[in-house]
């Protein structure tokens, strides 16, 4: 058992535990924290695969920016425990076995039919210089379209989250 495999299993165990914990928790803030654990573990997996820049961006953008947005919204709306209804019990009854069956099926197919392809640690160095050259030459058009998408998202978020001008201001209790 190589060090690479041990590290993969350790990070993978954290990711799996976080994913299961996200389903098990009823309070959104606990789910958010377990999702952050999943993202940190995935950053470790990216480092094992040699994608250093992707790992750094995963921590900075995903765990840093997007999850802060989530936690901020949870705090802002002051959400409580989620309420379970009859429909959600039925969904749990069918959803959890369905997930297990789907995971086992995927695992069986992958482990059996994927051949002997193995990935070495740091197989493909994804340093910022190489990524940047690829991003600004070969993927320049998608990159520019992405900037338009971000601009639209910013404007949409501002418009949606701002108070409607016609509605009367609500009194503070």
């Amino acid at each position: 058992m190589s060090v690479h495999l041990i590290l993969f299993l350790a990070f993978g165990a954290v990711a799996v535990a976080g994913g299961v914990n996200l389903l098990a928790q009823t309070h959104p803030i606990n789910s958010a924290l377990s999702l952050i654990a999943v993202m940190a573990a995935l950053a470790g997996e990216y480092l094992l695969l040699g994608a250093e820049f992707v790992a750094a961006v995963q921590v900075i953008v995903y765990a840093g920016a997007i999850m802060v947005l989530f936690v901020f919204t949870i705090m802002l709306l002051n959400t409580g425990e989620e309420e379970r209804t009859k429909g959600s019990h039925i969904a749990i009854l069918f959803g959890i076995p369905g997930m297990l069956v789907a995971s086992l099926l995927v695992a069986w197919v992958m482990l059996r039919h994927s051949g002997t392809g193995a990935v070495a640690a740091g197989a493909l160095p994804g340093d910022p210089r190489t990524i940047g050259q690829l991003l600004f030459h070969e993927f320049l058009l998608p990159f520019e379209i992405t900037s338009v998408l971000i601009l639209i998202a910013i404007m949409g978020a501002v418009v949606l989250a701002s108070k409607p001008p016609t509605a009367p201001a609500r009194k503070v209790d």
Binding site: S2, L5, F8, G12, A15, G19, L22, L23, P28, A32, L35, V38, E45, Y46, L48, L49, A51, V54, V57, Q58, Y62, A65, L69, F70, T73, L77, E82, E83, R84, T85, G87, S88, A91, G95, G98, M99, A102, V106, A107, M110, S114, T116, G117, A118, V119, A121, A123, L124, G126, I131, L135, F139, I150, A153, I154, A157, V159, L160, A161, K163
Partner: protein
């Protein structure tokens, strides 16, 4: 050396967790986090395939997925705030009408 299939199994499991959370959770914010979990699972398979096929394009795709996730989170959380302002609930069972 770790077989590629191990990475794909982990990625598939995270995706399945995300799908299940999307279906069984009743809080809009948790449903949103399940979508992020699905995107993360897909990102892992992108990076694993990039290392396997020795092509950096897979790693560049991850950035585009992250950008889409960021845009989706910003707009989606704004929608959640708007929904909460009009209905004062985050339970999707009680948000079953498009009109007020």
């Amino acid at each position: 050396m770790v077989p590629l299939s191990y990475y794909l199994v982990l990625s598939g499991f995270l995706f399945a967790c995300g799908v299940t959370g999307f279906l069984i959770k009743r809080n809009i914010i948790t449903i949103f986090m399940s979508i992020e979990l699905m995107l993360n699972g897909v990102n892992l398979s992108f990076v694993a395939f990039a290392a396997h096929w020795h092509s950096l394009a897979g790693q560049v795709f991850v950035f585009f997925v992250m950008v889409v996730a960021a845009a989706e989170a910003a707009v989606g959380l704004a929608i959640i705030i708007a929904v909460y302002r009009t209905r004062e609930t985050l339970n999707v069972d009680q948000v079953n009408l498009l009109k007020l």
